[in-house]
């Protein structure tokens, strides 16, 4: 990337040598991406972030159709939820599908929600909080039969779970670089050839007129490299991380009373372990583990003294006194078995300490 930043200074849209050099580097990255997704390189559009990709996919379809009905779920990332809500304000209609206790959408519900005026189904490949994988392949079959485009927010699954766009029946797929150790601020959208889309950003002919704006050449080169590494390592990493993830849960469960795993026990991202500790507030777990050198994230957000339990957990039917104590552990390339044993020990002892302070009995 630093070489690209230094040497590929030409604008990829320019016809001179320097521009063509940059364009060749972009094409190489585009080719790596299309191989991973089993797409044609011309179907890959680079953007500035996963949120932009979701906006482009959903608003691009909506702009081409001008009216209609969109199906999504209650547990989507805000990049999708807020976008669909904005379209509702503009006259589009939407159905927000419920999920089961594991955070999974029922494909039958997708079928039932389809209407004559449905213009798009937009669902995430995996939930960002609990990691549950959605049955995209089955949903893709349903949308294919109905002739409705399927957009998948694949930011969480990209490079972690194989997602062949033909096998899964995907028409639009959002992905992002930083989730696979690529640079931040670079992402993309797969757009199947023939999908009726309109641009939502104007002022340039870049990316085959689908996303105006000078390409972030160094970012794209970095993303291409990250994709090549993920394509090589994904299968082995899946096996390794799944074993570590399961060991983490088993270890915590063995040492802590009143703890539950959130998300599907098996149909889940290899690196995601989201747990609820009953009658403990997430932030006190996060702070305690942080002081022990362990970075985890809280499921409930305390802003100005108002705690909002995670809308994902609420949609999954998890009671508030449990949802308030949810913590997400994300495992990655650098996580070792030794780390997991340390996290188990740190979590068990810290939760015991918090429970010792609490007037609320677990």
């Amino acid at each position: 990337m630093s070489t690209a930043e230094r040497e590929l200074f030409g604008n990829a849209s320019s016809v001179h040598y320097f521009g063509q050099q940059a364009k060749a580097a972009i094409d190489t990255a585009r080719s790596s991406l299309s191989t991973l997704l089993n797409a044609d390189p011309s179907e890959v559009v680079f953007t500035g972030g996963g949120t932009e990709s979701d906006n482009l996919g959903i608003k691009g379809i909506a702009a081409a159709r001008r009216a209609g009905h969109i199906i999504t779920s209650q547990i989507e990332h805000h990049a999708v939820l807020r976008t669909v809500q904005t379209l509702e304000e503009q006259g589009f209609t939407a159905t927000y599908l419920p999920v089961d206790g594991f955070g999974m959408v029922d494909p039958g519900d997708v079928r039932k929600a389809l209407r004559a005026d449905t213009i798009l189904v937009s669902l995430m490949g995996a939930n960002s909080e609990v990691g549950t994988l959605q049955p995209i392949r089955e949903i893709g079959r349903i949308t294919r039969e109905a002739g409705v485009p399927l957009h998948v927010d694949g930011v969480q699954t990209f490079g972690k779970v194989p997602m062949d766009v033909d096998v899964f029946g995907i028409d639009l797929l959002s992905f992002s670089g930083h989730k696979i150790y690529g640079p931040k601020g670079i992402a993309g959208l797969f757009i199947r050839k023939g999908t009726k889309m309109a641009s939502i950003q104007h002022g340039g002919e870049h990316e085959r007129r689908r996303r105006a704006g000078t390409e972030n050449v160094a970012g794209i080169v970095g993303l291409g490299k990250a994709v090549a590494v993920r394509a090589r390592d994904m299968a082995d990493e899946t096996v390794r991380l799944t074993a570590l993830r399961d060991r983490l849960w088993q270890g915590v469960r063995a040492g802590v009373q009143e703890v539950r795993l959130n998300g599907h026990p098996t149909e889940r991202l290899p690196g995601t372990c989201n747990m609820c500790f009953h009658n403990i507030e997430s932030e006190s777990v996060v702070l305690g583990l942080d002081l022990k050198g362990v970075g985890v994230s809280a499921g409930s957000a305390c802003t100005s003294g108002n705690v909002e339990p995670s809308y994902v957990l609420v949609a999954m039917g998890i009671p508030v006194d449990w949802a308030m104590g949810s913590v997400r552990c994300s495992l990655g390339r650098g996580t070792t078995g030794e780390d997991i044993e340390y996290v188990i020990e740190a979590t068990v002892s810290h939760v015991a300490k918090l429970r010792g302070l609490s007037p609320v009995k677990a």
């Binding site: 009658n279 403990i280 507030e281 932030e283 006190s284 996060v286 702070l287 305690g288 002081l291 305390c302 802003t303 100005s304 003294g305 108002n306 705690v307 308030m324 918090l354 010792g356 302070l357 609490s358 007037p359 609320v360």
Partner: protein, 125 residues
Amino acid sequence: MQYSDTLIDHFRNPRNAGMMREPDGVGEGEFAQCMDLARFYLRVREGRVEEARFQAYGCGPTLAACSAGTEVAAGVSLEDLSAVTEARIEAAVGGLPPERRHAAEVVALALRAAARDAMAKRGVR
């Protein structure tokens, strides 16, 4: 979020945590919006707090503020403790970010309630 070293120290090593048998006064403070709960127990001698202990449910700052609150209460007359302010508790943890000020509120509320409870019991005796 940036917390003071004092707050982190109280969170890491809470002072006077746990319940007290046969306390002279007990008081609770609750912050309904975030469900934080603080409970203080007081041992009183000659109108002053000899020992304060706490139990709490809440975020890190609330737990730390409870710990600091027991130190604020020690040696203080019940009359003074019944008027303890949020600012006094906040100062005792080395300050709080604006979005965590409720920690001082819930602790001050609970300490004032515990002091009033002890005063009422003394009156009964």
